[in-house]
C-alpha cells in the first residue's frame, strides 16, 4: 500500500452503530470488535475510493486542532494487518 492507494473494507466486514453498546462495531463472520470513536471515524471514511492521504486530509479538516497524521497511518496499518481493510 502507498499513501495514495484507495482503501476498501474487506468482503464480509461491516461497520455499524450499535445503540446497545453505545459504540460502533465492526462485524465479521461469527465475531465483532467494538471500536473506539477514533477508529470508527477512520473506518467510516474507507469507501473503496479514498486513500490514506484523503482520509487524513478529511479528518484534519474535521479536527483542525489535532495532529492526526501519525495516528491515522498507524491505525490503517493495523487494520490492514488484521484483514479488516485493504
Amino acid at each position: 500500500m502507498t499513501e495514495n492507494t484507495p482503501l476498501k473494507i474487506n468482503t464480509g466486514f461491516r461497520l455499524q452503530w450499535e445503540p446497545a453498546q453505545e459504540s460502533h462495531v465492526l462485524l465479521y463472520p461469527e465475531g465483532m470488535v467494538k471500536l473506539s470513536s477514533a477508529a470508527a471515524e477512520i473506518l467510516g471514511l474507507v469507501d473503496g475510493q479514498r486513500s490514506l492521504i484523503d482520509i487524513t486530509h478529511l479528518l484534519s479538516e474535521k479536527f483542525p486542532e489535532a495532529d492526526l497524521a501519525e495516528d491515522v497511518k498507524e491505525f490503517v496499518e493495523v487494520a490492514i494487518t488484521k484483514g479488516w481493510i485493504s
Binding site: 468482503t11 464480509g12 455499524q16 461469527e30 465483532m32
Partner: protein, 375 residues
C-alpha cells in the same frame, strides 16, 4: 430491566433438529426427537426482533440443518433488515447454486460449511451419508458467489492425523477461515467419547501442523485451532459465562443459555411462545441460576481464576459430576478431575479398534436415549 446485566450479543437460532446427516459428535440433545414442534416463520421473526432490541447483533442460523427450513430466505431477509450480521451454519446438504444465490439476495452475510473429514470415505462414514462431493461443490459455489466462507472441521481420533490434508483441502477451496475444532464432549460426543477422543501424541502433532500452516499461509487463510479441554488443567471460559452474551433458541422455542444446557433436567427452560425474551433474559430462573458467582461452591468460590473462567462449563460439570454448581472437572483443582484423566488414560491405551460401536445421531438412536432417560 436490570442495570448490571447486559443484553445478549449472540443469538443462535436453531431452526430445526432435522438433519440429513448423523454426525456422532452432534451438539443437538441426544433426545432431540422429543422436541418435534418447531417455531413458525412469524414466531422466529418476533423472536429475532426481541433479541435485536435487547442488543443481539450476531445471528447464527443453525440446526440440525437450517436449509431444511423452506422459509430460511425469508428469515435471513428479516434478520438483515433488523441489522443483524447473519451467519448460516450448514452441512451444505440441501444446498444448490440457486439457493446460494437466493440467500445472497436476501442479504446473508456469511456461510460456514462443516466437513467431517478431508476424504470421501471417512467424511461419508462419519456423516452417515454420502455428502463429501456435494459439500465440495457447494463450497466452490459459495466462494464463486462472493461470500466470505468459513469451513469447520470437528477433529476426532480418526481424522486428526490428517489435519494437513484437511488444511490443504481448505486452501484448495479458498476458505477465508478454517476452524479445526477438537470435539467437545457433550451429549452425543460424550456417549461416543471412546471412539472419538484422540491421544496426546496425536494432539501434539496436529497442533504443530496447525501452527506451521498458520504461519505459512497467513495471507491466504486463517486457521483457528481449538484445543480440546480434556488435555488442559484449566477449563475454558465457557460462553463468557452463563447468561452473559449468548442466547440459544431451540427449534421449539425453548431459550437456553448454551446449546448443551437442555440436558439439565432440574431447570425449567422458558419458551418464547409463553414469555417475552426480555423477561427470559433478565428475569428467568433459568438464566439467573448460574449468572455471576454467587452460585459457586468450593473450589471455585474462593479461587482467583473465577473471574476469568467462571468455573468452566456448567454443562460439563453437570454431566460428569451430577451437579452444575461444581467446578468443571477439566480443572485440576476439581475433586472430580480424575474423571477426565481416566478418559484420557483410556484413550492412550486404546488400540485402534473398530469393534467399538459408534452411536450415530439419528431418530432411532435418539428414541433409545429418550427411553433410557424416562426409565
Amino acid at each position: 430491566m436490570s442495570k448490571d446485566i447486559d443484553g445478549p450479543r449472540w443469538l443462535l437460532a436453531e431452526l430445526t433438529y432435522k438433519c440429513p446427516l448423523q454426525c456422532p459428535y452432534c451438539s443437538n440433545p441426544t433426545d432431540y426427537t422429543k422436541y418435534s414442534s418447531e417455531l413458525t416463520t412469524s414466531e422466529w421473526i418476533s423472536t429475532m426482533r426481541q433479541a435485536r432490541d435487547l442488543g443481539a447483533v450476531q445471528l447464527g442460523f443453525s440446526g440440525g440443518e437450517p436449509l431444511v427450513r423452506t422459509d430460511l430466505e425469508q428469515l435471513v431477509e428479516a434478520a438483515r433488515e433488523m441489522g443483524f450480521y447473519t451467519n448460516l451454519i450448514t452441512s451444505g446438504v440441501g444446498m444448490d447454486a440457486e439457493r446460494v444465490a437466493r440467500l445472497k439476495q436476501a442479504g446473508l452475510d456469511h456461510i460456514q460449511i462443516s466437513f467431517q473429514a478431508s476424504d470421501e470415505v471417512l467424511n461419508d462414514r462419519f456423516a452417515g451419508t454420502r455428502a463429501f462431493q456435494h459439500k465440495k461443490e457447494m463450497a466452490r459455489e459459495v466462494k464463486a458467489q462472493g461470500y466470505p466462507m468459513v469451513l469447520n472441521f470437528v477433529l476426532y481420533r480418526d481424522n486428526i492425523d490428517r489435519v494437513e490434508e484437511i488444511m490443504d483441502l481448505a486452501l484448495e477451496l479458498e476458505a477465508d477461515q478454517v476452524e479445526l475444532a477438537n470435539t467437545q464432549y457433550y451429549g452425543w460426543a460424550l456417549h461416543n467419547r471412546e471412539v472419538l477422543l484422540p491421544t496426546k501424541d496425536q494432539l501434539v502433532r496436529a497442533r504443530a501442523s496447525a501452527e506451521r500452516y498458520q504461519d505459512e499461509y497467513k495471507d491466504q487463510c486463517r486457521f483457528i485451532y481449538v484445543i480440546p479441554d480434556y488435555y488442559e488443567t484449566r477449563p475454558k471460559a465457557c460462553m463468557s459465562g452463563w447468561g452473559k452474551i449468548f442466547l440459544n433458541i431451540a427449534p421449539d422455542g425453548s431459550a437456553l443459555p448454551c446449546q448443551g444446557a437442555r440436558q439439565m433436567a432440574h431447570i425449567d427452560f422458558p419458551n418464547v411462545r409463553d414469555v417475552s425474551l426480555e423477561d427470559i433474559w433478565f428475569g428467568s430462573d433459568a438464566f439467573n441460576v448460574y449468572r455471576g458467582e454467587s452460585w459457586m461452591r468450593d473450589p471455585c468460590r474462593t479461587c482467583d481464576h473465577r473471574h476469568e473462567d467462571f468455573g468452566g462449563c456448567r454443562c460439563q460439570a453437570y454431566q460428569l459430576t451430577g451437579d452444575a454448581r461444581n467446578a468443571d472437572p477439566v480443572c485440576s483443582l476439581s475433586p472430580d478431575h480424575k474423571k477426565i484423566t481416566q478418559a484420557v488414560t483410556m484413550a492412550q491405551n486404546q488400540q485402534p479398534d473398530n469393534s467399538v460401536k459408534v452411536a450415530f445421531r439419528n431418530p432411532k438412536n435418539s428414541k433409545l436415549f429418550e427411553r433410557s432417560e424416562a426409565g
